[in-house]
Symmetry: C2
Subunit: 486 residues, 2 copies
Amino acid sequence: MHRLSPIDSAFLLVEQRHMPLHVGGLILFRPPADAAPDFASQLANRLRESRRVAPPFDRRPHTRFGFGFWDSEQEFDLAQHFVHLALPRPGRIRELLAMVSRVHSAHLDRAYPLWRMYLIEGLEDGRIAAYFKIHHAVVDGVAALRLFMKSMSPDREQSKTMPAPWEIQTRRSDATLAVPAPAVVGPMGLLASLARNAVKATPTFVRQLRHTWDDYRAHHPYLATSVQAPRCILNQSVTASRRFAAQSYPTARMRAVAQKIDGTLNDVALAMCGGALRRYLADLGALPDESLVAIVPVSVRQDDGTTGNEIAFALANLGTNVADPVERLRLVKGCMDYNKARFREMSPAQLQAYSVAQLLPGALTWLLGLDPKHFVANLVISHVPGPRQPMYWQGCELDGMYPASVVVDTMALNITLISRHDAVDFGLIACRRTLPSVQRLLDHLETALVELEHALFGTPARAAPRRPEKSRPRRMHRSSRPAAPL
Amino acid sequence: MHRLSPIDSAFLLVEQRHMPLHVGGLILFRPPADAAPDFASQLANRLRESRRVAPPFDRRPHTRFGFGFWDSEQEFDLAQHFVHLALPRPGRIRELLAMVSRVHSAHLDRAYPLWRMYLIEGLEDGRIAAYFKIHHAVVDGVAALRLFMKSMSPDREQSKTMPAPWEIQTRRSDATLAVPAPAVVGPMGLLASLARNAVKATPTFVRQLRHTWDDYRAHHPYLATSVQAPRCILNQSVTASRRFAAQSYPTARMRAVAQKIDGTLNDVALAMCGGALRRYLADLGALPDESLVAIVPVSVRQDDGTTGNEIAFALANLGTNVADPVERLRLVKGCMDYNKARFREMSPAQLQAYSVAQLLPGALTWLLGLDPKHFVANLVISHVPGPRQPMYWQGCELDGMYPASVVVDTMALNITLISRHDAVDFGLIACRRTLPSVQRLLDHLETALVELEHALFGTPARAAPRRPEKSRPRRMHRSSRPAAPL
């Protein structure tokens, strides 16, 4: 039994009926070519034979004298945590995403350790899927990914002999996995982080704030602030229902665009998000005149591989008010380059304090109701580096890992992407009711990439988008009747 | 938009994270002999074409000025309410019950009308299943059954042309269905009922209370009171996870036993519950010396077929302290006969007031903490008369309807049974963590029936139990490790 940290406690405290605070992920696998027809059932049976459970998978929250503690579960009930599911026919990706949307919407029972894994069979293309959810009070999104990755191997044969994900003891350091940056924290994470880091502030930090103030007064073109994001339909209260959308885009295509403008893959990903959001909001007649602003988590983790919420935040202008795709990309790149140059001047502790401090003007403006037309930021977009080589789990090749993060009141959409050696996997999670047909963003992301390729290389890209679904999704037409789930 | 009644409001108000207050039911159907392999998919597609939604399926709760109202949903989103699922292989009843246990554990999203229907394919025996859940604030368990029954017909061909369940307008009266008694209300229902009925109390009512007091002082053998139920493992706080267990027993066998002792099918059902609970608790070393007491809802509905919570409650001694099965049955029958004789002397309004008044001594004792060893009652056992002839839905023959009711803190188990022409369908819902391996009660119910047959007819019953599962379930051995779900 050990005490919950204030941040972990906060995730349990602020969780509400309509706002579960677990993180999740959908992972696709390609079974071996010689797999039996009942491969998934056999795999489920093998995993069910598991008799051990390692921390943090055995952690159950427990309140005593008003404080939160982690108990170690004594009567571990695997059937509560590992669930075998099947898709109804025809077993398309749209049925899978609808299923993940539903299970991601449901709360975890606090009487048990706060995680559940679903093994899903029945995809028409023969792939199998795993959806994993774990409470943010236990680990953040990246740590969850890390945990699951530990049960994978770059070697197919070796992967067959590896234990179930929940059997693997978590060490503080595991350099071989090299999944560096943590992902998302909620507003409570910010506040706790502020309290922790305020004491670490130094004259350097104050100098940095003055620097930002000078740039703000000089209207620096690449400085994004927390008082400029136009409040839009993304910034509403949410309901308890989620919609999950996911798609992969070839790393090579995104990298080619990045190289052409001397930028990074992350710059291209953010510009794609900007382009897609511009189109999505315009279709709904809800595109603000000013550009959307995203909070972009940046890792300040030292190379010792320790876990924890060692995060800083950059603010990125997404250029949703810019019609030209290349101009939008250059704006995003300029913004991120500005952030990087500023961040290089700070130590990790200074950077964390600075990250929170830059959000304060927007947060105060919002709390005091001074400017109802703006909000701290419009959404969080996280980019998590994934494995750099083919990986295997229980003999199956990893074929996509799509994060399903947290949606909260005032931020009804979250985009998290994982970049792997050959594909960048986008996971979008949104409030089903607040944001209609959010799956359209997948097409808009592709369109945004094609537009960049067309403008930079003169020809539309030849490569078809790599989507979980084999066939192109049918274009959803606008109607007063909400579309079916994906 | 109309105002929620105080009882309906109460169901929304007292609902908690670990205690959802929706009622549900699992319904099994046998498709026609010439059904195509994709019969379920085709049915799902047909139901998805539904374009209408009738009250109460369009009702969404809404709070204004601190009062609760029902709004009519303007943007009805069928994909949120109708879900097509498939069982993983091998598609046994245990996989189905595990799935229903999980979906029954999850809350309904209050931003939408408070119901959901799952169509489940993949049972190895070719049957299909529907699981339906609707919030207790909308309708009680019996009204929910009524609603679903309206989309069925005694004629197979006619049933194929009937609309989806949610399209059928509810009328205040529908005598043809003849599903008389409402089922379960929670403690808030009791209190609201008390307030409503106190004003209806008359001298007759006071005379009845004096009658009960005299019988109590005279130690009447068939008077069950609300101060005698031994507090046991059934009367604990619950977690958010449920376990659902279901089984059918032939009506003919139960009726034969009833006739032998000049009792009713309901007497036999209660005695079976008593026998099964005795064995279940004894196996756990938790059998109290005193008999368990059940709250048994009794319909006081007039023949005009109006809906609503027109319920009274009888208290029944289950004879769990009696080893002999026939002696236990005679005790239960005596208790129910005593109740009926008393109830006949009262008008419906008097009966409702009396029902609540008889629970008051136990409720006050509990609230004041005067007797921690006893509780108002140990569980609720409801018996709902079902259809008296074969019924069809979308061309499929009805083959079992198992209620999944509400579990609350202090009552971790609910048993509701539906008696049809050829089978009595028991639905047991329990807190998964508080009551280990509650599915064992299904075997114990069968054993209790066999014991009665053996004692009354001299021979063990020849007929095999009619169970959703074809093969006998493997006997679960006791171990420190909780058993897999069903």
